[in-house]
Subunit: 404 residues, 2 copies
Amino acid sequence: MAPFRIQTRDTASAARTGVLSTAHGEISTPAFVPLASKATVKGLLPAEVAALGYEMVLGNTFHLMLNPGPEVIERFGGLHGFMGWNGPIITDSGGFQVFSMGHGTVADEIKSRTFRDTEKPRQREGAILAIEEEGVRFRSYIDGQERFLTPEGSMAVQAALRSDIALVFDECTPFNVDRDYTARSTQRTHRWLDRCLSWQREHGPAGQLVYGIVQGGVYEDMRRESSAIVAASGCDGVAIGGSLGAEKQQMYEVVSYAVAELGGDRESLPRHLLGIGEVDDLIAGVERGIDTFDCAMPTRLGRHGTALVADPERRWRLDMKKRRLMDDLGPLMDGCPCPACSLGLSRAYLCYLARAGEITGMRLLTAHNLAFIAALMARLREAIAAGTLAETAAALRAGASPWA
Amino acid sequence: MAPFRIQTRDTASAARTGVLSTAHGEISTPAFVPLASKATVKGLLPAEVAALGYEMVLGNTFHLMLNPGPEVIERFGGLHGFMGWNGPIITDSGGFQVFSMGHGTVADEIKSRTFRDTEKPRQREGAILAIEEEGVRFRSYIDGQERFLTPEGSMAVQAALRSDIALVFDECTPFNVDRDYTARSTQRTHRWLDRCLSWQREHGPAGQLVYGIVQGGVYEDMRRESSAIVAASGCDGVAIGGSLGAEKQQMYEVVSYAVAELGGDRESLPRHLLGIGEVDDLIAGVERGIDTFDCAMPTRLGRHGTALVADPERRWRLDMKKRRLMDDLGPLMDGCPCPACSLGLSRAYLCYLARAGEITGMRLLTAHNLAFIAALMARLREAIAAGTLAETAAALRAGASPWA
């Protein structure tokens, strides 16, 4: 049975609703997938993540292979038992993390420079030593040991993690390389795709789905070719990764190039957009036919004291550390079911907690931000089904509350 | 109506059960009071603290006067509205904190040297500038500003916080001073007691109870005298503070000196032991007639990766960062209702979270440790009521689980 069933389609865009079926349950799409990179959605318990409206979380092969190591997680029958999450889990292959060390600023480019993110650039996670045809040699950020990660090795770790959806190991091509490097890198990614699928067919756990990853930089021909190759590879779904452009409009075009090759009989392949989660980008991605998204943004912002609110002028962000909020006795957002809003805690109290660096504040803002994104995705799903996506998207872009 | 009603008494010790009535509800005693020093039990929400079995929390005048300031909390009608805790709140007067800066190592002595605690000594919180008859001059650890705290000032902040129980402002005499200094310091504390009570009678919020604080160092005559003076002062309850001795046996004696003066018609004064919360000390305190206790230990240990377990050999502590626990697939403790134990999360996972410094781990261990102490106190209350305190205390001291 195909793992993905399209339910409704928008007539004016490529948007669609569907149900993604995995060994641990179904996901209604379009959906956002919160990060549990290191086997926890930081600060929250699994039941709380589910109560906020999430059906799947994302674990990270790179981090978990280094700590606690696949052999520990295997003893629990996989990541589900280890972390106590019984729903679907998708695992990133480690490609992004291993290359973000080597290319140095891939992550910064994608997250910061490209989209002018005000967050601190993520810490370099170690040091890459060599990119070879066989795999990638790097130094562990945990113990300084030299490690070698291959496509087969990534799939073996993901097999040990028993994720419901594994991602193939790819090279996440950086923003600052030329067309020629991008072409060679993308071709290697395609060879690694075949190796991942071969390994997984022979050794992967029963029921584990595998998504291929589309690369090709910002070049239309290469993105289309990569998308077609991935779609024809026999994988269960398509993830779009890598450098997506210098600004939002270019990113949207790059996504459209990839999706353009996924029509016809490839339409039932579920489509995941890697590392994208800004409010306007989620809306744009849905309009372009993306089914699932993951991003550190909502949870990371929450830990650093920023709340998501219906304010497009400020990129839907409210810096809760601003002293003036200490005078604001109102709730963060009316209608929000997160603990902070539903308990009637004030902006003043949340401001105080954020300024004081209290972990209670990190936890509350993380939950609020995830509640906001869950509501946004629910609104988009409802609008697609109701045939009102254009109006809903326009209202949300103009600053409508997802609970309005 | 007297705020405290004794319900049952142990025949073989000074232990008793009772009900303490406050403006925001009742507390069944003997009880432990978790710290919400900075308007949050770090990592937990109010409803979770209540669900763990707690009826009262402790806020801290010193920290809250500096940040966010009483004027912010006053706008919420007090600390209850600010932090979302609707049960009783007791507030420390700031005496301990302000003096722990000045005497430098009071906190370290009481928490570390005296009882050979392995925790890191707490950070110095600022710098004391002068102890005067009028009050104490110090430098704020928040903004470096010079501040002056008087007995009346402490009561005014506690009035703004609208705590159910306020503590008078005292000098917490350090361990390393001589009998002469202790005598002079204790006499000043008694003068401050009178000033606090006068201020509070005139300006305090309706229904706020006030506890006096017994000082007197380790000297029997001074402790007894201080206890008698506090009991006769017209306060609603008696707190025992200050340096309690060089080792546990001396602390227990010092507590007994103070309680010895609280018999007869003073018996209905509720008795609080400040800053004590080790498992064996709680049992010993209950046997000596203490009704309530507060301590940073269970919550602070949890944040730093230590779990409370039924292991007297290791002072009821399990260092969850020990690598060997990564092989332990069992739960932290059978029968414990905390989220970690009741969700079936393993010691291996908790070890992994603690080693990785994940805030989810801090939160889970904090909740577990509070669940452990809540169960311990419940066992002691039941045993007093059932006339079996001696056996129960012996079993708990020998390593019985509070859920056994």
